[in-house]
Assembly symmetry: D2
Homo-oligomer: 347 residues x 4
């Protein structure tokens, strides 16, 4: 049993803790944060299934007043684990890294940190082997994680020469008040960082893209225009996506009308926090553009990075040396791929 | 064990099924609907924890193609139960009533039906005894259910002479595409039906109100200006609300900044579907207006009617003859009131 | 002709300039701002109907590169005018005040500044005479300005003892990206500042209120529960509102379904920038709550303060010594009240 | 002076009337609609600059009660004109066509009608000559009109082989309550009709695309991945777009952050109804994808089709026999192209 700590207990940190807790070969030692946030209050209200550590000594009194049982300091947590999943706000991870180095603990950072914080910019499927036995890994952001799943899936089958993506980005998470957009579509400078990040992880693919922020909270949608090295038709694309345990092929006809349908569906499945780990691809929105393939992906931004983050633990600690074994175990423990009709993922 | 069926498996029907399933003295026989909706597909994907009955014979083939195991017809379900919770679309319940009468089964209708469909227009706290042993009960709508909880709570303590309410209504549920509003506040003709419904259930109170639709999905907010019969201060109001198992007193200071905070919090509690049964009242938004008391309520529209619907089963079947016993058992099985600091609800 | 300068050329500043330009007894000398914002670029594209002054010397090059003709510095503008309308960001007005004092120029500040910046906290209808010949006036904010119009209107007729208001606040203006809210209703600590400000201006009225932010851009809606000193019925309320040149009584039946209808209507009237100076009251949303009157107001937040700001010029410069004359001339030049059926406003 | 009537006085009809009124060689005889809508009430409030005709005899009393001066029936209008711009709801135009045929009047239909209603599916720039002297023309929809402007612009310069588009569609207009979407992105079946329509008008170009509805009201954004026949760089693309009188090149750096910036800017320009006829292209969002060019267009959906509709009058009536003369006069009278820095459009 490897010992894992989660530092930063926000939207991502909570879900990392959930995900680690589902792995039979990992022990979640505890989570750390700086204040009695709603997330921490919810942890308490449900009876402290995990231990909580305080990252900010001056807030000890605040935490006590809120009735939060505190098991120690951030450093106490770090000393008790083999690896940390750092899901703190952008920039804080870089500061925490000194502590991880001091205690010779491995760490996986999230997409908000700079690439330079880590030895490897990591994606479970696209470059698992590069992360094996490294000390510091950085995950791709939610959009890039989901995008690479789909592009890597096709690239392994037919080779992808280039992609041009349009990211229709959800601007905030459900429950966010510190950021938002009201009745506006906001443009970003192109090319978007997701295209650049994809090229860093998959240098064999040329990528560019335009990102537009939209005032919704339930998932990004990305359209991809992909130029394959070998001609493929829609049926082949569907077959490849259907066989991927982290991709869910859905249909408008069945009632999956947009990003909010997938959000609702995950809640109705009874998934904890209503989360969905898979990206979705709409069957009726796959079209040919000459020899290019165009399709649309749904990215459930709150939970999509969890599987690849678990993969990162497996790689960094050398628990599994190759991708198939590593992601396979993650998938098994997260129950991924069970929904695919007529597909045997060996689960 | 009384036997319960749920007819109509949409947003409310799904949650009624969840709620009945939690009652130790009730058996959920199954649910019925007319098509392989996303809700029904989710039921199948999670392994059919309940049996499914088909309400629309001509859709049998469609259901089979979707792989939904069908246990029988609507009439088969009705014949197997003591009581039906009817959560079909407005107007369908009135037609279903003939079947319930034919099979001499009791039924609880939701707020969308006309009052005339039922013997009693029912609210668990405000008029439980009137529902005892009746055949047909109709629940109040989500806004009215939550509003009456709060008004009844104060009325029992100090007497309420009149209320003037402003309903800031969420216009759609998460995952709805068939209704919506974009960048607009929409006015309704006053007085709102919720005020009129409150007076039907609580004739001792005079009520009026204005309803404004807003483009959000995570909970209605109602402001209430209540004229008490005896003068009360804010502390007393807080004390009464805190002691109520279906009311959660929250604080802006703790991070409960609006309706979306409560939606997020319920998800983070790990509640199934991310649901919350309680209304919330903000501590920092209780003010005096002369001798009147003004406060704001959060209504989680997807799940708020579940407790009172369970109460309705208890009343209609005469399982408990008085309100305290009836709502008490509902509360116990739904785990309501556990969150209140320092309050012993006898659970 | 009194000479007027507008400092701060944002959403409010642009409209103040428009409003001053319509007054036959005022000359708009020019406007000042700190950078080539979109508002300033639009001024240039339409051919510089007003002169532009640069408030930030270090941005002179930026302005020149954008091709904006600059007529001088902020101080140049101040030296050329009798009075400044200061519509800078909150807090900047207090700093600008030193310049106004240095050059012995009068100034009208907007609602974002602290009350202490001014000699009088001013509303054209409610306390015009207090502003006469004063040097520094501060306007009420958009919500308070519109709210006071309605409350003052009734108070003059029957006396108002107290009001309890619910402010359903639009969270951003059309075209704002720096602030926003997505799929959430956000609560504020009660009582809202608008209620407190109303009491400052109208000490004879007791006021409290709750404010809820909503993700829309086209106008606030306020519901008011008003306790009159003499009993009045709905017809009388309607008659008083209809006779007020700055209040527009509208009907759901005619198609005025919410705040966005009024926004659209003002555009379709051909009003510059699609602006509306009047608040609106919905005929079908006036109800009695016992002896209280409850009604709903629409506040077009971009332009509603313009008439009262023009009134402030008239008061501060002693152009008209009494309210009737002052607001009457403002109304005449802005064309207010022309829409009222069968009402002679003497225009 | 050719005589023009506008049938259907909604969002588009109002703007068609405005646009015709600006043409020195056209006379706007009047507009027709079926009821005292807000648009018709606004027409009356501004003093009936156009005559109004009643298309629905049974609503005559309703119109009179609303005080709308009625100049006759729909047929009266048709008999007085050379050509009708039909902007009625989808499907009504096909019925009106019988009247146009009966009175031997020409007509231009909007994009909601089926193609079969007209002799030519028309775009001012892409196929002007095909519309010359035809009786019935149908305009492209708002998205297609703007899209073709940009694609035609590049096609004339370097030849365009194929395009793959992503339409980020605004779901309603400001002031709409009958349609809307709340906190959701909604997918359409691909390929989108806009891609198919583009191929109908420009058969030399292969097109496909995916459309996603978004909950905003201020303009669609389309991303285009275009495969040119000759390699071009970003500078050339910019030069071609800048030289087009109906395309506005804008910069994030200048403050044009998204669709709402363009909406605000048009209002601040003082354009009637705050309208903008031009599409916009963001300078910072033009990128290369291999030899393909990717860019983003803003489509102001309320007014974008007006210029091409005026072009259609010119073509149908043979007022100008070639595209350059036809669109040139439309542009001159609408003042298009004046904003481009350093570009001489011969105006």
């Amino acid at each position: 049993m490897v010992k894992v700590g989660v530092v930063g207990y926000g939207v991502i940190g909570q879900r990392l803790a959930d995900g680690v807790d589902l792995q039979e070969d990992m022990e979640l030692v505890g989570v750390a944060d700086v204040a009695p946030t709603l997330a921490v209050r919810a942890l308490k209200e449900k009876g402290m299934p995990y231990r909580f550590y305080n990252s900010l000594p001056e807030n000890q009194k605040l935490l006590e007043e809120a009735g939060i049982p505190v098991s120690g300091t951030l450093e106490d947590l770090i000393k008790s684990v083999d690896i940390v999943l750092d899901a703190t706000s952008a920039g804080v991870g870089a500061r925490n890294k000194e502590l991880y180095q001091k205690h010779n603990v491995k760490a996986v950072f999230q997409g908000g940190e700079k690439n330079s914080v880590a030895d490897v910019f990591f994606h479970g499927y696209a470059n698992y082997e590069q992360g094996v036995n490294k000390q510091f890994l950085k995950l791709t952001s939610c959009n890039t994680t989901g995008l690479i799943r789909a592009v890597d899936c096709l690239d392994r089958q037919v080779g992808i020469e280039k992609v041009a993506i349009t990211i229709i980005r959800r601007v905030a998470d459900p429950g966010d008040y510190h950021r938002g957009l009201t009745n506006a579509l906001q443009m970003d400078k192109a090319p978007s960082h997701q295209a650049i990040d994809l090229m860093t992880i998959m240098p064999q693919v040329q990528a560019t893209g335009i990102l537009v922020h939209t005032p919704v909270t339930h998932g990004h949608i990305i359209t991809v225009v992909a130029t394959p090295k070998r001609k493929i038709n829609k049926e082949a694309v569907l077959q490849y996506f259907r066989a991927h345990p982290r991709i869910r092929v859905v249909r408008l006809e069945d009632g999956f009308l947009g990003n909010a349908s997938l959000f609702r569906y995950a809640r109705d499945l009874g998934n904890p926090r209503g989360d969905m780990y898979e990206i979705a691809v709409w069957e009726e929105a796959i079209v040919n553009s000459g020899d290019d393939i165009m399709f649309a992906i749904n990215i459930p931004q709150e939970a999509v990075v969890i599987p690849e983050s678990i993969d990162a633990i497996r790689a960094a600690l050398g628990m599994q040396a190759d991708m198939e074994s590593g992601v396979g175990l993650t998938n098994k423990h997260l129950g991924m791929g069970r929904w695919q009709k007529g597909v045997d993922h060996g689960l």
